[in-house]
Symmetry: C3
Subunit: 300 residues, 3 copies
């Protein structure tokens, strides 16, 4: 059992007229468990202190989820077993679509994750439509990677087919420029999601990526969308910069887009100064929603 | 402060018509604290991460127990001080009856504890009739062991006598066969519980045990019962097997019995494959309740 | 990430006619995170397991605070960065008034903090009038110490000025007798608090202190008061003793006073026997409220 930790202190504003600029503090500790069987399989698990164990706010914000007691909920835990056959992971982990696609975030991030604005898509696909307790198998064959995943309905009800996913990745090295391709697909009854990403890391410190996801939820145009996201990053010495833009085109005709910016300065030893800015233009709101955060992020 | 951990991944079914076969994930970390005084007393405590500190679901499932703040609740903690005089333990620990009796479980267990079916009795006696915060003294004199325990009512109400317990154990070695005897008694006002267990571990990998408990709760025939449980285990190489049967004869005339099976395969390094099956025949239900689980259990 | 721990076992009585003398158990583990930047700044953070992370009982006792998720709440965490410029601390930490004043407690303490009776004042000043998430800068210049602090209102409402504080300390060494002076001031809109403390540690094992605080809450005479507290301590070999007296004179004419006693015996290795007694004379109650606790406290 090994421990790692993180902490943050700073200020932020979330553009809420009922709130002032506020102090930001955050801390977490991660427990990493690892072992090896007699015939060389590795196995392990991890859990964060703030999950410990099962987010008590998980279900309804009033009473508590029973995740602590209920092993049919992931409770924030990730457990795996790995060997020549590949890796089998269960718990609070990515489905195959999310696993395959590269998010368009680069570099330092920010205290309030402002770069993940309302037009940003983490490409989770159908993950979490049930309880988010996912089983994924993944493996690599040279430059190719493949994953399959399943999330099952605990309740025996109508339309309770498992969410099945398939993900493919391919890594290409063009003389110092590393290019990654990701393709993912998920389906459950009449719902489906398909996504694609391409990202590149250049030798001069630049990085860039684009992702596309098309999600169709049967009979729910407001939850069905096309999304495109693009992002760039640049690192030079202690300084890191990032910008991204993303846009949802919902099937009901509405659109939400936004952009995010981060800037970081690495103090060394695990500490860095982080600035983040996010702006969202959502339908039905006057003006944009602009948020920022600034402070020190520490890792231990 | 030392850390140990456990994790499980697998599938289970609990024979609930409203539920499917489900994924199972579980994880925990135990904090063990230990020290020694100048004159050689040892002392220590332990707490699990998932208790941390005080199960928030403890009292009513809606709001929270105040166990985290309320030192009049054990909150999952066990604290002890030990020396030539014996060991004094306080907190979430066994009363003297449970301490003395050997449960009829052997070997690997299962992810969902399916072997602890509805006819199974852990021989807790009157433990937990108040808040489960127990003080126990135990000591050994050669092959004899003795324990006394108390659990007190925090509330000053009628019939709030402490739950007092006495436990005796005796270990016998018959040329490679280790035999254990346990006898326990608890009382509180007009309630009482008495229990007895005998278990044997044979040199060839077999183990077997039987336990009996008679519990009389004044004016509550549905909570008063005789119980008998028998169990066997066998270990050979990496394989371990277990079966147990138990039956409650309630004073109101109803009966509940059931059996449990486990099979385990030790992968080494702390990992093992575990299968469990449990079947319960309870009054007023059509057919048996059959549950199973299968997966990998890991210790770190 | 380093771990330290504490545990307690014993008995206590809180003079509540609806309750008996009760068992006391307590345990906690502290996670300490520390690092150093390339240019020699030190930084770190700490959190207790029982906070982990954000006391779920924090806001209303029924549902949960969102402290776990909400970085605008301190959630029990303390985070700092320190260098030649001084130390900047944010989170669940003291404002400048509390930082400057020495409490009149000495020596071992007790399991139930009985010495902090109803007439006792921890000199928190205006800390916590908002969400208790405090930013403090402090530094030392030879024997002088200085701190400034701010606590801001997350909500943008009327009378939401920050709580600002200033604290000054001075340490004097009179040939083996260490004398400390503390002076603190806090203000927010029309509210203010001012406090003063003097304490002395004598070479023969005696210690003594006095503190004074005047707190004026605009339009709330029941929360406005003058308070005086005095305390003494004595340590010889393994034995430590303490007594304190304190009195609130509220602006509405009522008074609350009380005294506290502790006695400790150090067993070595981190364990000690602790006894505590507290007595409070509050307006509107017949007789005094007398509490005690007795048991073993352990540190790891």
């Amino acid at each position: 059992v090994t421990l790692t930790g993180s902490a943050e202190m700073g200020i932020f504003d979330n553009d809420n007229p009922a709130q002032n600029v506020q102090f930001h503090t955050d801390i977490d500790v991660t427990f990493t468990l690892s072992g090896e069987t007699d015939n060389g399989l590795t196995f392990g698990a991890n859990i964060d202190l703030d999950e410990s164990i099962g987010d008590n706010n998980d279900d309804d914000g009033l009473g508590e989820s029973a995740a602590t007691r209920d092993d049919s909920q992931h409770g924030g835990a990730v457990i795996f077993i790995s060997g020549n056959f590949g890796t089998l992971t269960m718990g609070d982990t990515d489905g195959a679509l999310d696993w395959a696609l590269q998010e368009v975030l680069f570099n330092s991030g920010s205290l309030q994750d402002n770069e993940e604005h309302g037009g940003y898509n983490g490409n989770a696909g159908l993950d979490g439509d049930y309880d988010g307790q996912i089983l994924r198998y993944d493996n690599t064959f040279g430059a190719f990677g493949v994953a399959v995943s399943a999330e099952i309905s605990d309740a025996d009800v109508a339309n309770d087919d498992p969410i099945l996913g398939l993900g493919l990745t391919y890594d290409l090295d063009l003389g110092g420029t590393a290019i990654g391709f990701g393709l993912g697909y998920q389906t459950r009854d009449d719902d489906e999601a398909i996504g694609l990403s391409i990202d590149a890391a250049f030798a001069n410190g630049f990085a860039a990526g684009i992702s596309y996801e098309d999600q169709e939820i049967s009979g729910n145009a407001a939850a069905s969308y096309d999304h495109v996201g693009i992002g760039v990053g640049y690192t030079t010495g202690a300084i890191s910069l990032h910008a991204n833009y993303g846009k949802f085109d919902f099937d009901n005709g509405s659109e939400t887009d936004g952009f995010g910016l981060t800037a970081g300065y690495d103090l060394g030893g695990g500490a860095s100064i982080q600035f983040g800015y996010g702006s969202t233009d959502a339908p039905g709101t006057a003006g944009d929603l602009d948020t920022f955060s600034l402070g020190v992020a520490m890792s231990f």
